[in-house]
């Protein structure tokens, strides 16, 4: 019997299961006459596995049970804001009138949906202090590209093409990529010794050929850019614009007025700050908020309110154009709208709790892990593996060992300015009890690094899969079934 016992960690591939001719789906009866197919269009069919419905359901259910998700454990993946996604959001998005709406319905038959988008824009404007909003961009990086296209269009209207963008070394990696995609040359600005931007470093690089600066505030070290207003004034004085990457908005939501901080363009990640599902490349949303002066450049079509109700308008001659088929990832917009309305005034309590949780972890681990910038952090804290390197234990080993303790690993080797970085973002979701368990696990791992480093190098010991061969996966990726 023993050889028939399936090891809990063995799961066959779909192609290793099933039998020829087995089906999980019955095609509906044909209601059109049969018609011969042009033989030129026919050929070998694709190699689909032949499976029954229960085989498929069990396969994916088993795999899902091996997974780590925000519904099963704390997920402190720094820079990603993996907060809990409230189930009420999904209930609202699944309402038949919303889930079944066709994107080609004319505006008179879509008043509720248009109102939702119009109001969500107003909510985001109120939250950020920037008065005009587009919901079209599908993700943060597309929001950045939107911002760069707006920079380009604005400077074109000023009669001067500008070719450079300043980007601090603590920015998100997508910032220089978005600027480069738009044709700008990214100019790196080194952060100062305390991990934040120094106004003089910006002033030395800002000139009449520079379109502006892209800042992430708080930055990727989890530190607030306390000179941001001065930096913005330097950039504005030379005719430039200020872009803020709102990926770290969970640190300051409802606490700062981005307009007053001197920001001209900001993107938000609804799939981070506003609790919509996130990860695995699923749909995101990266709305862009701009100052009144830049509102004419926003993508079209835009939702407008007329005497006859809500409708679409393309009548914005200075627009940068369209960025997405239809109007963005609408189902995600519904979830963010639901999150904002269900929290109401409590929305302003989110960031203080997220910041408190990160500082609680920072304080709990500062005697066990090296803190490259030892000052109060915002919504995430960055440690390094410097102390553990003496025992030849790396950030990767620590992250893998955390899986054995039942936690999703933090972000590692980012930000790049910290060698061996461990970037921990607990979000406001976690209770003190969970944070204490996480801190205890990290402390236990730090002790193991001294006493039994080999155990860490072998981790995870108790997961369904041990160390995956990341090198082989990157060098020779297998992209088919």
């Amino acid at each position: 019997m023993n050889d028939k016992v399936r090891k809990p960690s063995a799961e066959p591939l779909l192609w290793e299961m099933g039998a020829r001719g087995r089906l999980a789906f019955s095609l509906p009866e044909r209601d059109v006459p049969e018609h011969p197919l042009d033989p030129a269009l026919a050929g070998e069919g694709p190699d689909f596995p032949d499976l029954s419905e229960p085989e498929i359901v069990r396969h994916y259910t088993r795999l899902s049970q091996w997974n780590m998700a925000v519904d099963t454990t704390m997920y402190p993946l720094g820079s990603c804001t993996m907060k809990y996604n409230p189930k009420t959001n999904d209930r609202q998005a699944a309402l038949p009138g919303i889930a079944g709406a066709h994107p080609l319905l004319p505006p008179p038959l879509s008043q509720g949906l248009l109102r939702l988008m119009f109001e969500l824009e107003q909510f985001l404007a109120a939250i950020t202090g920037l008065p005009a909003v587009t919901l079209q961009p599908a993700a943060g990086a597309q929001g950045e590209l939107t911002g760069m296209l707006i920079f380009h269009a604005y400077h074109g209207d000023q009669g001067r093409r500008r070719t450079k963008i300043l980007i601090p070394d603590t920015a998100h990696g997508t910032n220089p990529a978005s600027a480069t995609l738009c044709g700008f040359t990214a100019v790196a600005v080194p952060s100062g010794p305390d991990g934040i931007l120094e106004p003089e470093a910006v002033a030395r690089r800002m000139d009449a050929d520079t379109a502006g600066i892209m800042v992430t505030n708080p930055n990727t070290l989890g530190l607030f850019e306390s000179h941001i207003r001065e930096v913005a004034d330097i950039v504005h004085a030379k005719g430039g614009l200020v872009y803020a990457d709102g990926a770290n908005m969970n640190a300051v939501m409802g606490q700062v007025d981005m307009g007053a901080m001197g920001v001209d363009v900001l993107h938000l990640n609804l799939h981070k700050t506003f609790s919509t599902p996130h990860g695995g490349g699923g749909p995101g949303a990266g709305p862009v908020c701009v100052s009144a002066a830049l509102a004419p450049y926003l993508p079209v079509p835009r939702v407008v309110l007329t005497a006859d109700g809500f409708t679409w308008s393309d009548d914005f001659p200075r627009t940068i154009g369209r960025l997405h088929a239809f109007y963005g990832n609408f189902g995600i917009l519904v979830r963010a709208y639901s999150y904002i309305l269900s929290l109401g005034a409590d929305l302003t309590r989110i960031s203080p709790l997220a910041v408190l949780n990160a500082n609680y972890i920072r304080a709990g681990l500062r005697n066990h892990y090296h803190l490259p910038y030892d000052r109060p952090c915002m919504h995430e804290c960055v440690f390094s593996d410097k102390h553990q390197q003496a025992h030849k234990v790396t950030a990767l080993d620590i992250a893998k060992r955390l899986i054995d303790f039942g936690f999703h690993p933090p972000t590692i080797y980012f930000p790049l300015v910290v060698p061996g970085a461990l970037m921990i973002e607990p979000t406001e979701t976690e209770t003190k009890e969970t944070l204490d368990r996480f801190i205890a696990a990290m402390q236990a791992i730090a002790a193991e690094a001294v006493e039994d480093p080999e155990r860490l190098r072998q981790a995870p010991l108790h997961a369904h899969r041990r160390r995956l061969d990341e090198v082989q996966a990157a060098r020779k990726p297998c992209l088919t079934g």
Binding site: Q389, K392, T394, L396, I412, Y413, F414, L416, P419, E470, V471, A474, R475
Partner: protein, 132 residues
């Protein structure tokens, strides 16, 4: 990850502060990254090298290496013209990890000024910087 004592630092090459090395070969200089650099990067999965004929300034970015950790830029240890690149790294980037000073070489450049080479660090100076 290794201790500095376990890494190789041959004395027939000179080193830059960005952890590239250069070795004279006829009128040209062969360029690669040091054993320390490859050890820090971890397993390398892709090496991006310049076009031959490209003119490089000293310390100019000439390509990048992608490891399982991150993408890192490569900086030219001396100014000159790219005469040849190591195409074998396209299919076997692991050579940089295995043989950083021989099969893992990256490019050969014709120097603009051979004095650039003399200004690079010798083995002892590079080791002193690493231990700094």
């Amino acid at each position: 990850m290794k201790d500095i004592e376990e890494l190789q630092f041959p004395d027939d090459v000179r080193y830059s502060k960005d952890h590239e090395w250069a070795r004279p070969e006829g009128d040209l200089f062969v360029v690669g990254i040091s054993d320390y650099a490859q050890d820090q990067l971890g397993d390398i999965v892709f090496v991006e090298l310049p076009e031959t004929g490209r003119e490089l300034q000293q310390n100019e970015e000439f390509g990048s290496v992608e490891s399982v950790k991150a993408v890192s830029e490569l900086f030219a240890p001396l100014a000159g013209t790219v005469m040849e690149v190591n195409g074998a790294l396209d299919d076997a980037p692991e050579k940089v990890n295995q043989e950083p000073y021989s099969d893992g070489w990256m490019m050969k450049i014709k120097p603009a000024d051979k004095a650039d080479f003399e200004a690079l660090m010798d083995r002892d100076a590079y080791l002193a910087m690493l231990k700094g």
